[in-house]
Amino acid sequence: MSASTAPGRLVTPAPPPPPTPARRARRRRERGLAYLLLLPALVVFVTFVFWPLVHNVYLGFFRNPPFPGLPSKYVGLDQYKSVLTSQDFFDSVKTTFLFAILTVPIGIVLGLGLAVLAHQQLRGIGVYRTIFSSTVATSVAVAAVIFGTLMSPAVGLLPWLGLDTNPPILQNPDWALIAVALVTVWQTLGLTFILMASGLQSVPDELFEAAEVDGAGAWSRFWHVTLPMMSPTIFFTVVVGTIFAFQSFGQIDILTQGGPLKKTNVLTYYIYDTLQRQSDPGKAAVLAVALFLITLILALAQLRFLERRVSYER
């Protein structure tokens, strides 16, 4: 039935030939091969992604001793209740969301802006493109070490730039998270730029020219041509960027260790601190379950609400 409605198809395709023993054997081999090809990846995923996910739920039912060797105590849902209703947990979730809000939109706006600027036909634009994408070579640790030293009150540059605060920025409960977000935005700018730039490249130039012919100014061209055509890329970057923001860890470990006064205690750091410093795998597992559910709901919400606003090429 579908054949007659699909454009370009004039003839209904012939039904597939009945399966002969030879064909059945071939298909069996094909299936076997398929599963064999998928097996290595699946083993890794089951052992290191899905099993831990399930096991976390189980671990959350136990109160652990401060170090291995002593028995764990089964407490049912009590640990879930006490951890997930604690002030520390609420604060951590709030901090994580705040951090995502500080990094994702700004990163995308900057990346998109740089990509548009670097899309011009100027001589030597390639040099600028390379510079704008340069931070992709830095890691979270490198960026944190560099900025941590630059923002340190003793050897840093902030006083010279007139930007120092009292107490110093990384120890300042009001500014520490913003400082960490700034470092993150800088570090991810290279990748965001590359994503935006490649998305921009796939927008056909004819559209820009047509708009220019119609008398559309630069801003109007951006709003009515660039942005809609870029929406799949932007959407992709928003989803991926949010996932990355929720997984941020290295910069916090190096710059603030969750402080000052727990103001940068994002959920990932909270999990790490609970697992390593407090040696409390049960509580860490509860927090991990919470992190997973939050990330999942957020991603699904984004997929639902944002995808509607994305316009695809016909």
Binding site: E30, R31, A34, L37, P40, A41, L42, V44, F45, T47, F48, L53, N56, L117, A118, Q120, L122, I125, Y128, T130, I131, F132, S133, S134, A137, S139, V140, A141, V142, A143, V145, I146, F147, L150, P159, W160, W186, I194, L195, S198, Q201, S202, D214, P232, T233, F235, I243, Q247, G250, T268, I271, Y272, Q276, P281, A288, L291, F292, T295, A299, V310
Partner: protein, 301 residues
């Protein structure tokens, strides 16, 4: 987009009063100013973005006492290259770089291999639960790594792989992103290719390695670069799973270096530059592949 009848532009009296030569010169000046403004903006942004790296390189070549000099020295008039040697030797950066190199290569090979195999299966083979399994692969992207650490640390310890190259690499030998990318890329290859190869007697294995992969080289290159980047820059897992300098990777080593060189910040900065150099080299050579591989089917959605 049709051209609507737009209202006639208002009369530009100033323009009407200029001679054609004046008008040409005016437009020319405007264009030059516009270009200058654009270059100025681009240069300003480039300086802002590069400044932290620039100041890191400068400070790595200064004496510790010069670093705290106010106003800060923006150019090393007497470069002290010894900080790099110090970071390399006393700072153990040499060991860290070797460890990172080994682990990164293992992870990159693993990810690319499993991605090619899985991508081929999804693109060219028919089997039950194919769609379900593909969703399973993609679902791994939804699970933040921090969620798995509680169990993964225990698993790796129990397998006896704590503090080893295997322990550092094994959890990352496959990614859903890689399989996705390779599947998309393989799917852009024309179907007749497979049929023609089958007629020539090419089994799946030969077709995969002799035809499909060579044609998918941009995507393989892009995936390799991504995998290398991600593996080189890993932080949390090496932090959890290494306990001494023998296996520490460069990112953790850099943190270590920062803590032990508090009064010799030039060494810390030198270490940061050392950590970045391999990636800079990698990206200089493969920048084009990155972009091409990405646009080869993934980003378009």
């Amino acid at each position: 987009m049709s051209v609507d009848a737009s209202p006639a532009p208002a009369l530009d009296h100033a323009r009407l009063q200029r001679t054609p030569e004046q008008e040409v010169r005016r437009q020319h000046r405007r264009r030059v100013l516009g270009k200058v403004a654009r270059y100025a903006l681009l240069t300003f942004l480039a300086i802002v973005i590069l400044f932290p790296i620039y100041i890191t390189i400068v400070n790595s070549l200064l004496l510790p006492s010069d670093i705290t000099h106010r106003p800060p020295k923006l150019f090393p008039t007497d470069p002290q290259w010894s900080s790099y040697a110090d970071a390399w030797n006393q700072g153990h950066m040499s060991t860290y770089m070797v460890n990172s190199a080994i682990v990164t290569v293992i992870i990159t090979l693993g990810q690319v291999l499993t991605a090619i195999l899985a991508g081929y299966a999804f693109a060219f083979l028919e089997f039950p639960f194919k769609r379900t399994l593909f969703v399973v692969f993609l679902a791994t992207l939804m699970v933040p790594f921090e969620v798995t650490i509680v169990t993964n640390v225990a698993t790796i310890s129990n397998l006896g792989l704590y503090n080893s190259y295997a322990g550092l690499a094994v959890p990352f030998l496959a990614t859903g992103f890689g399989a996705f990318l390779m599947r998309q890329t393989f799917m852009t290859l024309p179907h007749d290719l497979r049929d023609a190869a089958a007629l020539d007697g090419y089994g799946h294995w030969r077709f995969l390695w002799r035809v499909a992969v060579p044609l998918a080289r941009p995507a393989v290159a892009a995936l390799s670069v991504f995998a290398f980047l991600a593996a080189w820059n890993q932080y949390l897992w090496p932090l959890l799973i290494t306990k001494d300098d023998q296996y520490r990777t460069v990112q953790i080593g850099l943190k270590q270096l920062q803590q032990t060189s508090i009064d010799q910040v030039n060494i810390t900065f030198a270490g940061a530059i050392i950590a970045v150099i391999p990636l800079v080299i990698l990206l200089l050579f493969f920048q084009r592949h990155l972009v091409r591989g990405l646009t080869a089917g993934a980003v378009k959605g």
